[in-house]
Symmetry: C2
Subunit: 320 residues, 2 copies
């Protein structure tokens, strides 16, 4: 066995068992391997695979400003109160400029700093292999395998990311807040199909009830998947914790329903499918751009740019 494998075995053993501090440190290192797109990941994932499938994976999404971080924080506290351990992935679209997190309020999560039953990690889409679509499921897989009862994935819900997180989570929470203006209006149309649970945060503000009732009306009109689950619309004030216990109860209810109905299994297979595809595509991209037979992508692109070939003919050449 190579030294590399020994190192991976040690790291995986530390992450899976052992004392909390050691385990946290090992988990942190495993997720860094994911972020760095380390070549040892395949060994890590092979070692972790038999331990996966137990966590309740919850996606929390919503436009900037709805209070996602505060809510995540409150949900973590409520879950801890029921004795469950929680791993949190806070996913920020990376700035191509700074490569860093965009949201300053990430620090609030420090509330749980002394709690061994909570692990929090901020992730940025720095990588080249397909960004968040590639690294987020791998990091979720790590947190699932090492035994967190709940894995919360918080994403900035802009553009298509609601849809992405919905594809990844067992249960998707869509957050809204009153007074968000145009953005919410635009967002609404995109969120009606993805939420298993809707939370109108800042319920103490003017217009919160209206947002909730509008949303209920829109959900009633939206002919959803035709399944038996009717997504509840809850109201919270995350800063005081009002309504958060009800959110946790609804999460549990959805979990029970999705397990019984077979939806959980379907989503997990869909998630695995997306993971496999992302890894396969990344491997091919690396091959196409690298040395050897397939480094032809550069010259194919030049031919297409010059009008001497078309992208379909070039793609055929790449695939043969």
């Amino acid at each position: 066995m190579s030294r590399r494998s020994d190192r991976v075995d040690d790291l995986v053993a530390q992450a899976l068992g052992g004392e909390a501090t050691t385990s946290h440190r090992a988990v942190a290192r495993l997720i860094s391997l994911v972020e760095d797109e380390s070549p040892v990941l395949r060994e890590v994932m092979a070692a972790l695979a038999p331990h996966t499938g137990h966590a309740h994976v919850v996606g929390i999404t919503g436009a900037p400003g709805v209070g996602k971080s505060t809510s995540t924080n409150a949900i973590v506290a409520a879950l801890r109160a029921t004795g469950r351990t929680v791993g949190v992935l806070a996913v920020d679209p990376s700035s191509p400029f700074s490569g860093g997190a965009l949201l300053g309020d990430r620090v609030r999560m420090g509330d749980h700093a002394g709690d061994d039953g909570v692990y929090i990690r901020s992730m940025a889409a720095r990588g080249h292999l397909g960004g968040l679509s590639w690294s987020t499921p791998q990091a979720m897989r790590v947190l699932d395998a090492v035994g967190y009862d709940v894995v919360l994935v918080e994403t900035v819900g802009v553009g298509q990311s609601e849809v992405e997180v919905a594809g990844l989570a067992d249960t998707t929470v869509v957050m809204l807040a009153p007074g968000m203006g145009d953005g919410i209006q635009a967002a609404k149309a995109g969120i009606l199909e993805v939420g298993d649970l809707y939370v109108v945060n800042k319920a103490d503000r003017d217009g919160a009830r209206r947002v909730a009732s509008d949303l209920r009306a829109m959900l009633a009109l939206a002919d959803r998947r035709g399944d038996a689950w009717s997504p509840p619309v809850l109201q919270t004030t995350a800063q005081t914790g009002d309504g958060v216990a009800e959110v946790v109860a609804a999460l549990d209810e959805h979990r029970a329903w999705s397990r019984e109905s077979g939806e959980l299994q379907r989503r997990r297979e869909r998630r695995a499918r997306a993971e496999i595809e992302a890894i396969a595509v990344a491997a091919l991209r690396a091959r196409w751009s690298g040395v050897g037979d397939h480094a032809q992508l550069g010259s194919l692109a030049a031919a297409v740019a010059a009008g001497e070939s078309d992208p379909y003919t070039a793609a055929d050449a790449l695939l043969t």
Copy 2:
């Protein structure tokens, strides 16, 4: 020659030449083929390839509410005043619910309805092959080939789409407006590297100058590509047309610079590369999900979901 090829030949001939009304109709049908992910696209693109490479491809991006559609409209008018023909692609992130456009102000583009030198098309990311990343460059290719002097691609600048449009266009215009609050603040970090030209719209409103000067300061701090192009920050009031002629002048200036510096060629090759990759990946995805040897993706995903395999091992199986 098959009937299908005859049909494609006719359509391409009509789009490339002939009388304006016939040509517009043929272009519309070609872009519908793109949206429908038609299997005849490979023939269409092969026929169009020798005609591509002449248009100035301009991306216009910015958060909802900055006035992108009004500005696009005004830029089209200013370009028409210089005698150039313009093709516009208005790209909306598709709602998974409605499948339709989100923005009501699309209708304003009707200003150019009677003008044969303008073609406007709204595109939604309905498809399965990779959505906008797949269909937008194909539609741009159609408009380029049929001879529009300028192809404007307007995208809703949320999440990663600024970066995407920047990868596709010869020249990228990033739009901002005063009074946009949090969203702009968050967006700013992501836009500093992608703009070739910044436009602060609604210049008649309070705070526009401040947005422009803040942006100039941030751009000065951001150590950009180290190239010779310093992106100008312009101010417009799109509704009155104030400042729009200067935008067109700056577009022309960037075009001249990028041609001379070799940047235009680099971007076009990058665009072609992205197109080829997207088509190759879509072909593989179809193969993996389809019948035959590679339909194994479903069973591989089930094994991974069950913890019996890991996504890397499964991806290897898919690729061999």
